[in-house]
Symmetry: C2
Subunit: 207 residues, 2 copies
């Protein structure tokens, strides 16, 4: 381990920023960590690499985190929240259920094309911190499941939809993002979201 | 590196087994590698761990592979082929297009529940050998795309289906496998495949 030893008397509870300046520093550290872990991977990434990218002193790092593992976990939680917000902010209130799915996927695809590093970070999380990996996908599926339940309540969606349908929709969205937002952008977010939405509207059979 | 140095004069072209006994040994090494990499991950896995599990001499390993990287790549190629075969052997010839998708997914889910290590190995491949990772998913999507094209030719599927629909279907299948074949088996392969197939048959809107 090349990681410097942090002060032993600080637990996570001490570490939430109390000032606006502290919040900005924490934000800089997390944004720098996304680049560092995204470009170098967990094992090659270093705390000094993160603080150099963030333009902060090493001491600032230990004000908020005890270790590379700890900022990685915080980053996955942060990115998970950003994915949620990218989908949520892309849709207006009271859209029909199918339009809600379309807007959520469009928002996610746009976010992924601007933050291509999220795939590598979330995927590496399966190995670095399996609990956070599962939590990210369980939470994402739960939100889709809640949207489906709302669509059923409004009488717009099939009444037999459940958790497995939410996982199916999440899988569609994740792989379309990998192919069309991260690997190559040969189709735009709206176009890809429409192709996926057409499956949810009518299936794939000829009418 | 703790890896013993292999004979330098042997290239991959020399290494295909020439006898039935050689094919059995190679099979034992790949099956052992699946367990070793699946349980320990690429970095912790060792060549001696593989040969011990396979019950072969260390020399047998170097008859077929030059390094841990090389057997990992061969294993991903082997597993990719097994996924293809699991889907193919589960479906009869000349099924209707939608039944072909259902049977393929059922076959994949059964395979994944018996070989839970494939997710970890394919996912870790993103970091160990990104080209093989992309090739596995590109090939899988291409096969789904070919099945969709065949369904269009037979007049059973929407004529506008293309590569993105194949990626959407692959994503559904991969995440349903992760959730219902690897993490927990609280729903059977047929049941999960039917839930996914209902999306492809009719979408999720109320009729």
């Amino acid at each position: 381990m090349t990681t410097p030893t942090p002060p032993a008397d600080k637990g996570p509870a001490d570490k939430a920023p109390r000032t606006e300046r502290g919040r900005r520093t924490l934000r800089k550290l997390l944004d720098a960590a996304a680049i560092e872990f995204g470009e170098r991977g967990f094992h090659e990434a270093s705390i000094t690499g993160i603080t150099r990218r963030a333009g902060t002193a090493l001491g600032s790092f230990y004000t908020y985190f005890n270790s590379k593992d700890e900022i990685f976990r915080a980053l996955v939680d942060d990115l998970s929240g950003k994915v949620r917000e990218a989908a949520r902010s892309a849709r207006q209130q009271d859209l029909p259920a199918l339009e809600t799915e379309r807007a959520s996927l469009t928002g996610f695809l746009r976010f992924a094309s601007e933050h291509k590093e999220i795939y590598r970070i979330i995927d590496e999380c399966e190995f670095v911190d399996p609990d956070s990996f599962r939590l990210h996908y369980r939470n994402t599926a739960r939100r889709i499941h809640e949207r489906l339940a709302e669509g059923i309540r409004k009488g717009e969606l099939r009444e037999d939809l459940g958790e497995a349908h939410a996982w199916a929709i999440m899988g569609m969205n994740v792989f379309l993002g990998l192919r069309y937002a991260v690997w190559s952008e040969d189709a735009g977010a709206e176009e890809v979201a429409e192709l996926a939405n057409s499956i949810l509207r009518e299936g794939i059979a000829k009418r």
